[in-house]
Amino acid sequence: MSRPGHRPIARLRVVARTAAVAWVVFGAGAAALFAAEPEGPLYERDVLPILTAHCLKCHGREARKAGLDLRTFTLLSQGGESGSVLTAGSLKESPLYERIADRSMPPEGELPLRDEQIEAVRRWIDAGAHAADTGEPPQETASETSAEDRDFWAFRPLARNEPPAVRQTVRARTPVDAFVLAKLEERGLSLAPDAEPRTLVRRAYFDLVGLPPSPEEVDEFLRDASADAYERLLDRLLASPHFGERWGRHWLDASGYVDTAGGDNDAGIIKMADGKWRYRDYVIESFNDDKPFDRFLTEQLAGDELDDWRSAEHFTPEMIERLTATTFLRSSSDDTDENELNTADIRHGVLARTVETVASNLLGLTVNCARCHSHKYDPIPHRDYYRLTAIFTPAMNPQSWLQPRDRALADIAPQEKAAAEKHNAEIRKRIDEAKRRLSEIRRPYQDRLLDQKLTGVPEPIRGDTKTALQTPADKRNEVQKYLAGKFEATLRVAAEDVAAALSAEDRLQIAALEAQLAALPVQLKSWGTIQAVYDVGQPPVTYLLKRGNHDAPGAPVAPGFLSVLSSGDPAAVFAAVHPTGATSGRRLALARWLTERDTPAAALVARVMVNRVWQQLFGVGIVETADNFGHSGAQPTHPELLDWLARQWIEAGYRWKPLVKRLMLSSVYRQASTVEPARAADVALGGRDAAATAGAGAAATGATTDAPAGPDPYSIDPANHLLWRQRLRRLQSEAVRDAILATSGKLDRSMFGPPIPIEAKADGSVVVRDKDLPSATSPWRRSMYILARRNYHLSMLDVFDQPVVSTNCTRRDASAVVLQSLAMLNDGFVIEQAGHFAERVAAAAPVDRQVLAAFRLALAREPTAKEAAWCEELLRSQFDRYRQQAANDEEARRQALGHLCQMLLNASEFLYVQ
C-alpha cells in the first residue's frame, strides 16, 4: 500500500486492505517536506470539517458503515469493505468524491453537502489529496517506563520478609504483632492491653458479620473460660452466612455495584437494571464459600470466556454463575438505552469508566489522567491507558455498540430461549383465540341486553348512543363522549346479566374457554436476566485517542497492560491463555496478568487487597490512601508487614477467611481502643511490664493521677499511625441501620433475591416503598438488600455517608454532621424501631430490670450505677409527662421506655466499634 505525500508523487493509488496497514518508504527529503507549512488543501484543515459535520457519525464516530472510517487520513486510506475510496489526483477513481458528487451520500434525511463543500473535496483530491497526518507508524519504544519507575515501592515484587524479633514476646501472639511491635518499640511504645472481653465480642461481631451480638451471645462468650474461646468465636462468625454479607458489601463498594441502570439523575425515576442483584448474591456466596481470590477475580473479569455458553444446549449452574460474575464489568453508568444518549462520547465514557473502575479497584491507581496524556505523577504512559482499553473493546466496541437492553443475557441458553419464545408465541396465540371466541359468544347476548336497555333512551338519540357506547373510549368524538358520559352507567350490561341469559350450550362452551384461559398463562415460560459482559464479534482495532478525543484517533494499540508492571512481551500473555468459545480471551489474559504469582502486577493487586482488609479491621489502611498506591498517595506505615501479609495470602491460596482470621487473632487487633492519659504509660515500653515485675498491678498505675515518667504515646504518635491502640471506628451506614433493627428485634435476616424497592418522597426523604413488597418484614431486611442507587439512597443510609456511586468507592467516609443527630432524634424509622426495642425490653424484663436489659441489647454491656440512675430519672420524668397527658400508667410507662430506648440508639457508644 502506498499513500500520497505532500509533493504529488505521480498518481498514487491508495489500496485498501482489510486490517493491516503497510507503509511506503519515502525517499529522503519527504519527511522534511512534511514538517513544512503546507500550501495546497489539506485533509485535516479543508476536508475533515466537512466530513465531520456530514459523514463522521456513520463512518467513524458511532459506526463504521461499509467498513469505512473517515476520522483520520490514515483510516480513510485503508478504504472500506469494497476497497479503496480515494486515489490522489483522480476523481474517477475516488468513490469518496463520486458518492458525494452524485448526492447518493449523505443518505436521505441527512443534510446534503453544499456545492462549495463538494467543490472543496474535489479541489483537494485534484491537488494530490495531501494530509498533515503522515501516517507514520508510532514510535513504539520497548518500554516507556524506566527501571527507576519500576523501583517504586508499590510496583516492586513482594519482598520476602520474616517477622522481626521483639522484646515483648508476651504480646507478640502472632507474626503480625511482631511487625507492629517492632515499630512501636523503636519509639519506646507498646501495644495497649487487650480490650475487655465484652468490648472484643461486640467488635468481632460487627467486623465479621456487621451486626451486634445478642445479650445471650455475649454471655456465652464471657462464660467460656477456655484458652481458645476467642478463636472459636471467630470460627463461628466466619462460618456464619452473614459473613458473606458483611465482606461482600466491601467488595461491592470497590466494584461500584448498584441495582439501577444509567446515571440515576432524578429522584423520582428509578431505572432498574434487571437481574443485577444476582451479582450481589454471587459476591455474598463467593465470600461465604471462601472462594480463592484468583478464581473469584477471573470469573468476574472473564467468566464468559471460561465456557462455551454460546453453543450450549443448556446453561449449567456453573455457566450461570460465571456469566453472572461478569456483571462486575457492568458497574459503569451506561445511559445508551436512551437513543439520544447512544452517542460516541457517551459510549466512550462507559468504556473509560469501566477501565478506570477496574484499575481503581484492583490496582489502587487512578489511571484517568492517562486517558488524555501520560500521567503526571505515576509512570502510566498515554499508550498504556489504551492498551488496557483494548482489553475491553471486543466486548464494548464504541463503533458497534450494544445498548444495555440488548447486552443483557437470558439465564437460559440461546437455543433454549429461542425454543421458549416460540412456545410462548404459540401459547399467546391460543390465549388470544380463546378470548376472541369468548367475546364472539357473548356479543349477541350483550347486544340484545343493550337494545332492551336502550328502549329507555329517547328514540331520536338511541342509535347515536348505541354507536357511542360501542366505540372505544379513546376513539369517541366530542358528541359520543357526551353521550357515553351521560348513559354509560345506566346502560352498562353487567357480566352477570350476560351469564344469566346464556343458553345451556353457550354456558358450557364459555366454561371450557375460561378454564383454558386460566390454564394457559401458567404454561408461559419465563427466564431471568443476567447483566453480562461478553465479546461481540471480532475484536476491533483500538486506537490511542489524542487528548482522549474519540474523533482524534492516533496509532492503533495492541491490548496490553501497564508497562511499569509488566516484563517481557504482553502479547505472550495473550497468546498463553486458552479461552473457551468464540471470544478473544483478552479479559482472561488480564485476569492471568493480575494473579500470576511472583509478578509485580500480582504483587500490587495483593497489596491493594490486603490493605483494604486491614482498613476494614483497623479503620485506616497500612497505606492510608487505600485508593491511591501511586506517587501521590501515602507511603505504607508498615511496608514489611504489608508485603508479608500479601505474600502469605497468595501462598495460602488467596483465601479471604484465613487472612481475616489471622489479623483478628493478633494482639494488635485485640488491644483496647482507648488508653486513659493517666494510664498511657502502660503503653510506653516498660511501663506495664516493669510495673508488673515490681509486683504492682496495672490498677495501681491507673490509680495514679500524674502520668508516670515515660514516653507518652499521645505526644509521640498522636494520630496512632503505629497502632499503640486499636482505633475507635464509627459504624458504616448499613451497620448503623442493621444494628438498630437487630436491637429492636425486628431484623429480617433472610438473604438474597431482588432488591427491596424504595421511593423518594417530595420532602426529600427516601424510604422503603410501602406497597407491593415481597413480605411484611421486607422493610426490615438487611441494608444491603435495599435497592442500591447511585445517588438517592435510603435516607437513613445516606446521612451516614453511604457513598454516591459515580464510579466506585474503596474507602468510606465517616462524617459527624448535624443531620445525623436530627435523623436519630426525629426520623420516623428510628422512632418506630425505638418503640419495638421498648416492647422487646418490656417483654423480657420486669420494670426494675428494664434499664439493664436495654443497655445489654443496645450496647452489649451493663450500665454503671451512675448511668442507671440517670436512665431511671428519665423514665420517671417521661412517665410523669405522659401521665399528665391522661395516658394510663401502662401507656405512660411504655412511652417513657420508648424515649429511653431511642436515646440509647442515639448514644455515641451505639454508633462506634470500640
Binding site: 434525511g109 453544499r114 439523575n265 465514557g349 462524617s815 443527630s821 436530627l822 448514644a907 454508633l911
Partner: protein, 492 residues
C-alpha cells in the same frame, strides 16, 4: 434577625488542625494536612482556622467584592433568542434552511429551518439594554444587571450540562460551586448550614441532588435542602408528635451518657463533635423557624415577590427566603424554579411562545423582585445573584414551533457582588447559534465568581486521590477570570 456570634459549627475552636482533620472522620493523611497548611501560607491567612474542615467563617485571601451568592437556577435551557438576545436576522430568514447543519439533540429539527423568536425586544432602563417583552419585570432592573450573551457549554443533555454548570465538568462526581464556596469561606451563621437549597416542595428539578453534591469534599459542605412548606429541614421535628419538654429531657440524658463516654476517649474530637451536634440540632429548630417565617415581612415586600398571586407565590417565596437566609449569614443559596407543569421548566421543545409565557409568568416577577429588594436593603453590593440555565436553544425549529437544546450559546444574568451594572457582554452570531464575541465558558464563570469572593480559582485547592483539585481545573479548561464583567470602579 440578629446574627449570632460565630463559633465552630461542628468542632470546638480549641482543637488543633490535626484534630479537625481527624474529626471529619475522613482519615486524611499528613499529605493533606501539609497541603492545607501550605494553602494557608499561600493564602496569607494568619488564622489557624483558615480552610479547615469546619464551617467557621474565614477571610478570603484576596480582597472580596461579595460575601454571598444566590443562584437562581433556571433549568431546562432558556431560549436566548426568546429572552435576552435579539436576532433580527432570525426574523428575516425565518423559514429558510440554515447553511450549517446544527447539532441536534432530539429528533425533529432535521429540516434545519430557522425559526423567528415570537417576542419583541425593546431597549430597557438608562442603559438601553434590549430585553424581551416576555420578561417585563427583569426589564425594570436592566440598569442593575450584567447580561452575558456569549456563554457556551459542553453537552446537549440536561443532566450533563447541569452537572457542568454546577460542578465544572459534565461527569458526575465533583463538588458543586456552593460546596467549594462553603469550603472556602465557611459561613457566618453557625445555627444554619452554609449552603442552602430551596427547591419546589412538590419535587426535584432535573438531576435533583446531583446539583448540590459535596462529592469528595467533606459532607458538611453539601447543600442542605430547606423546605418552604412544613418543617424547613428534613427531620427537624419528630416524625411523631411528642409532648412539649419530652425531647429536652431526652437530650439531657443523652448529653450525660455521651459526656461519660467521651471521657473514656479523651482525645477523640469526633465524639466532642457529636455532642455539639445535638446542641446545634436544638438551636436549628429555633433558628430555621425564625428565618423562614414570611409573616415577618411587610405586605409590600411580600407583594414584591409575588406572594399575593398564586402563580408567582411558590417561586416568589423561595426568592424571598433566599434573601432572608443571605441576610442572616448563609453563604450560598440555590433557588430552583417550579417543577410543574414540567420539571425542566425552560425546556421549550414544543412551542417556544406558550412555554416561555408559562414559565415567565411564574418566575419573572420574583426574580426581579429579589434584585430590587436586595438593592433596597443594601445587600446587593455584597451578594452575587446569578440567573442561569444550563444551555441555550437552537435557532432552527423543532417540529414547527419548538427549539432543541444548544450547548454553543446561551445567555445569563449576573447582578450585584461587584459585577457591572446595565452592561451587556459578548455576542452570538447572526442567528444566535454560536457565541462568537467575548465567549465565556462555564469554568470562566466559576473563576470570575470565585474572584469576586476573594479567591484565585487556581489556588483554592483540595487534595483528592493525591491530586490538588480545583473547581475550574484551569490547566485543562483554560479557565480565566472574565475581567470585562467586573465593575472597574469598585476595584481597589
Amino acid at each position: 434577625m440578629k446574627i449570632p456570634t460565630p463559633n465552630a459549627h461542628n468542632f470546638p475552636a480549641e482543637l488543633s488542625r490535626r484534630d479537625l482533620l481527624r474529626a471529619s472522620g475522613l482519615g486524611f493523611g499528613s499529605l493533606v494536612l501539609s497541603c492545607l497548611l501550605a494553602e494557608e501560607a499561600q493564602a496569607g491567612a494568619g488564622s489557624s482556622a483558615a480552610l479547615a474542615v469546619n464551617l467557621a467563617p474565614r477571610p478570603s485571601p484576596l480582597p472580596a467584592q461579595a460575601r454571598s451568592v444566590i443562584m437562581l437556577m433556571q433549568n431546562g435551557g432558556p431560549g436566548q433568542m426568546e429572552l435576552f438576545d435579539p436576532k433580527p436576522e432570525l426574523a428575516r430568514l425565518a423559514g429558510q434552511t440554515y447553511g450549517e447543519k446544527v447539532e441536534m439533540f432530539q429528533k425533529g429539527s432535521e429540516g434545519n429551518k430557522l425559526l423567528a423568536g415570537p417576542f419583541r425586544f425593546r431597549p430597557c432602563g438608562q442603559c438601553g439594554m434590549e430585553l424581551s417583552e416576555v420578561i417585563p419585570h427583569l426589564a425594570t432592573v436592566a440598569d442593575d444587571i450584567c447580561l452575558v450573551r456569549s456563554m457556551h457549554t459542553e453537552h446537549n443533555n440536561h443532566t450533563e450540562a447541569l452537572v457542568m454548570l454546577n460542578t465544572g465538568k459534565i461527569f458526575q462526581g465533583r463538588p458543586a460551586l456552593g460546596s467549594w464556596i462553603s469550603y472556602a469561606l465557611g459561613t457566618e451563621n453557625q445555627n444554619l448550614p452554609a449552603y442552602v437549597v430551596l427547591r419546589d416542595p412538590e419535587g426535584y428539578n432535573t438531576s435533583g441532588t446531583l446539583l448540590w453534591q459535596n462529592a469528595w469534599l467533606p459532607a458538611l459542605f453539601r447543600g442542605t435542602e430547606f423546605s418552604t412548606q412544613g418543617p424547613a429541614v428534613l427531620n427537624l421535628r419528630p416524625a411523631r408528635p411528642q409532648p412539649s419538654g419530652a425531647q429536652a429531657d431526652d437530650l439531657a440524658l443523652l448529653s450525660r451518657l455521651n459526656e461519660e463516654h467521651r471521657r473514656r476517649y479523651p482525645r477523640e474530637s469526633e465524639l466532642e463533635a457529636r455532642i455539639r451536634n445535638y446542641e446545634l440540632a436544638a438551636r436549628m429548630q429555633l433558628a430555621t423557624g425564625d428565618t423562614l417565617d414570611p409573616a415577618r415581612e411587610s405586605p409590600a415586600t411580600q407583594k414584591r415577590y409575588g406572594l399575593d398571586n398564586p402563580e408567582t407565590a411558590g417561586y416568589g417565596l423561595r426568592c424571598l427566603m433566599a434573601r432572608r437566609l443571605v441576610e442572616t449569614g448563609v453563604r450560598f443559596v440555590q433557588v430552583f424554579p417550579p417543577v410543574k407543569p414540567q420539571f425542566q421548566p425552560w425546556d421549550s421543545h414544543k412551542d417556544v411562545k406558550t412555554e416561555n409565557e408559562q414559565i415567565c409568568a411564574k418566575t419573572d416577577l420574583p426574580s426581579a423582585g429579589l434584585i430590587k429588594d436586595l438593592k433596597q436593603r443594601g445587600l446587593l453590593d455584597s451578594t452575587i445573584v446569578l440567573w442561569t440555565g444550563e444551555f441555550g436553544r437552537l435557532p432552527v425549529s423543532q417540529n414547527g414551533s419548538g427549539r432543541d437544546h444548544n450547548r454553543n450559546a446561551f445567555s445569563l444574568i449576573l447582578a450585584g457582588g461587584g459585577f457591572k451594572r446595565g452592561h451587556v457582554h459578548g455576542a452570538t452570531d447572526d442567528v444566535g447559534y454560536r457565541s462568537v464575541e467575548g465567549r465565556v465558558s462555564v469554568p470562566d464563570l466559576h473563576a470570575t465568581i470565585l474572584h469576586q469572593l476573594g479567591f484565585d480559582h487556581r489556588q483554592l485547592t483540595y487534595l483528592h486521590h493525591g491530586r490538588p483539585e480545583t473547581l475550574t481545573d484551569a490547566s485543562v479548561t483554560k479557565a480565566r477570570i472574565v475581567g470585562e464583567l467586573i465593575d472597574g470602579s469598585l476595584r481597589a
